[in-house]
């Protein structure tokens, strides 16, 4: 019976099973992993992917009830949180997974940065990674606006205001994103569309490109040990590592959701500006800088930082050629992390 079914299926989908199995085995199961990856520090690259998976699943469930209209958005989120069976858990997982995804990406970047995993020939994959980080933050920003409470409404207003400062095209992009002069029903529809359609698709494509790059180059080995580091197969050990991470994460996020479930805040009121408008915590450092310098300069500063981060592998290469003895990436990396943490904590303390 089984054979018959197989035969029936193979006739209709005539692919070379043996070849496919070999390819799968080669590019997936037998992928050589450098021995240093057995250390947990180095084995968390899949964490953002796992969290993204959680968010796709919970996100789809949230769209069953969420209504992207200014009059109904807040109430639909309230309904999900307070009335839908397990709704608070689904929403909590979605919200906490987004927070942890940002943290996981930052940790992954720290690892790649300090091990110079971006060095030749993997520069392009670093750029893909930066793009993925940017898309993730945009997903977070648009997702935060979905709740349509006072903080998220005003964060969306102030956040999008920055776009205006981009020379020449700023105002046009702002109008395009907001669908008018102010954050309105048009903005919510556009943000919703971006959040559940365009951005996740883009991120998914970038994830594929990122993994394909890794598979093409192989996982980067430690600098100086490129030739003599031992390797082991992706399956089963590293695969099980990933499964353990996934199981740990779902437990950890569930616990966080129970202990610190996301609240609802006050419904958005375009007529009342809250005393303190603040973005989500991952933008605190940027927000802090913007408070100390004029908006225009701040926006340029941020753009400069983004460009520097994107092209860091090339910048690093040039700097190393000039000062071969100095570990510039240690200095730059440490300074960036310390400043980022300082401004993030500072924002928390002043509020």
């Amino acid at each position: 019976m089984n054979e018959k079914m197989k035969e029936w299926f193979m006739k209709r989908v005539p692919f070379n099973q043996e070849k496919a199995s070999k390819v799968m085995s080669k590019i997936f199961l037998e992928e050589p992993i450098p021995k240093h990856m057995k250390n947990w520090y180095y084995a968390l690259g899949a964490t953002p992917l796992i969290l993204f998976g959680f968010m796709v699943v919970t996100g789809i469930l949230l769209t069953f009830y969420y209504i992207p209209s200014p009059n109904k958005a807040y109430n639909s989120v309230r309904y999900i949180t307070e009335e839908v069976s397990m709704g608070y858990w689904i929403r909590g997982i979605h919200r906490w997974a987004s927070n942890l995804m940002v943290i996981a990406i930052i940790l992954h970047m720290v690892r790649v940065f300090f091990t110079r995993g971006y060095r030749k020939p993997r520069e392009l994959n670093w750029i893909v990674g930066i793009l993925m980080f940017a898309v993730t933050l945009t997903l977070c920003f648009t997702g935060y606006s979905m709740v349509y409470n006072q903080l998220s409404y005003w964060a969306a207003t102030v956040g999008t205001n920055m776009i205006k400062e981009i020379p020449i095209v700023g105002t046009t992009i702002l109008d395009f994103l907001r669908g008018g002069q102010e954050v309105s029903s048009n903005t919510l529809t556009r943000f919703f569309n971006l959040h559940i359609g365009f951005l996740p698709t883009l991120l998914f494509i970038l994830i594929i490109i990122h993994i394909v790059f890794i598979r093409m180059h192989g996982v980067s080995k430690l600098e100086g040990k490129e030739d003599d580091e031992e390797t082991y197969s992706f399956y089963p050990e590293h695969f099980y590592h990933t499964i353990i991470v996934a199981l740990f994460l779902i437990t950890f996020i569930s616990a966080l959701t129970i202990v610190l479930p996301p609240g609802l805040g006050e419904p958005a009121n375009p007529n009342i500006t809250p005393a303190h408008i603040k973005p989500e915590w991952y933008f605190f450092a940027v927000y802090s800088i913007l408070k100390f310098v004029p908006l225009k300069i701040g926006v340029f500063l941020i753009l400069a930082l983004v460009i520097a981060a994107t092209f860091w592998p090339f910048i690093d290469d040039m700097l190393r050629k000039k000062w071969p003895k100095i570990k510039i990436h240690y200095l730059v990396g440490s300074l960036t992390i310390i400043l980022f943490l300082f401004f993030t904590v500072y924002e928390i303390l002043v509020h």
Binding site: Y41, Y42, R95, W96, N99, L100, V102, I103, I106, L107, V110, R111, F114, T115, L151, L222, E223, G224, K225, L256, L260, P261, P262, G263, L264, G265, E266, P267, N271, I272, P274, A275, H276, E280, W281, F284, K327, Y330, G333, S334, I337, L341, T344, V345, I348, H351
Partner: protein, 538 residues
Amino acid sequence: MSENNNSLSTQKLLVGIFSILLLIILIIVAAVEMKQTRKPELVVDVSGVNKKCVDCHIQKGVAVKAIDSWKQSKHAQQNISCIDCHTAKKGDFDAFYCPESDFLVARHPTPNDCAECHEQQVREFSESKHAHQFWLIKNADRAVFENPISTRNGCEQCHNIGNLWPDGSVGECDACHAKHTFSKAVARQPETCGECHIGPDHPQIEMYLESKHGNIFRSQEKKLDLNYSSKDNKPIPIDVPVCTTCHMDGNETQPMTHNVSARLGWESQAAWSFRTVWLDEKLGNWEMKRSRMESVCKSCHAPDFIETYFLTADLVNLQYNEIRRVFVDWNKKLNKKGLTHTLIGKDGKPYSDPTLVGWDEVPEYKMYYAWHHEGRRFRMGAEMMAADYTQWHGIWEIQDDLVTMLTWAAEHGDKEAKKWVESIDPIKFAPYALYDIPGNAWGINAKSNTLPYVYKTYPDYWERIKSNVKAAYDNNLLSEKQWLAWLKRFENKEHYLGTKYNVDSTFKIYTDRDDLDTKAFKKQAVEFKLPGNPFWIW
């Protein structure tokens, strides 16, 4: 090789330290932020002098909750802090130094302080009857009856809304905008008005809750956000009116006002109902004020309903005056005959006014009740859709007062009163002229108007009523529009009274049912005799 190993160790150390540092700090940051999402109140900047006030009050445990309330206020959001309202100059009536400090502060921020920012609201309020100290002007000092200590936390607590401050300003803004949140939502909550508009003399909160408005409000209360701005001629954002919706809030037709007298057509609280002349030069005459109220009603109701409803309520006010006239005439007569007495003060001058207050003799206080308690309920109930207050707490008790007064007069030898008491004519309960309107605002009842004794007994009933309504119109107590609306009903009264419609077959179902009820109660109660004898034998 060793250099390579050293480099790898440094690398591992950096990755390890920064990963753990980032992980711990960022998860704590995310957790703190997540906790913030559950906090309804906004965090407020407290700095400068304000910080000193707040710190000291918290440290000494003085009015700490007031600070918490202030933190929730819009004032706090806009950086309007302690000293902005409690500002004082040397010599101010309420200036004092905060203990153990050199801060000169005002104990009582007055409307003058509020007017620094809310000039329009304070002005409108000062032009309203809320600010009018009528009780100091109109009546004799009631503290002989209700001794001073009782009035401190009694009368004065409510009438404080029109407090005349030593700085010349009038009012007490926090009577409605409870301090220190000064919340619009609290001010709009019907119970805020009900703090004073309650009790036997003007139970508006009870009337409101009895009305359809109040009932719908209660059922939707949890969903309503009363913290809205009523400026800019925007539509009313809630589906059911609270007190302020009709009396203060704006809609598409008019701006919000703090002058609660701007939309009232009657002085229904007065001893005699009269068309308001309050600030006519600014607010327009009573018709203009009434039209403002009607414009609010029109947000929800059909014009025809509003017109009939108010016309009926207006006729109730006019009817009250005719009843009041009987009380006043009788009290004057009894006073003149020496059966009741005016109070005389130590200075030899009359202290009480027999037509307003007497307090110590039955006809006097029955007249007082018929005005100050039941008379107000009768009129205000009719204006506020509170049927029970028009009926049982209104006209029924007024008539009870009337019977008691006349019975007392008869017992004390007044011949006319004796004749009235001994009369067996049912019409003796209407010793005054009547007003009426064919039908009501709610619809046509095809049977109820076949019942009233006066309809069946007096063929000229409606002609008499017409002449009274016409007289009221001629005296500018009803508008031309109202007179025409009344006439329209009069000319089609068989329709509006429902008498032209034959519904006997339907009505018979109920008369048959009623026969069964009558038989049942006769059998079960009236004719049911117990075998054991009573213990007291008549």
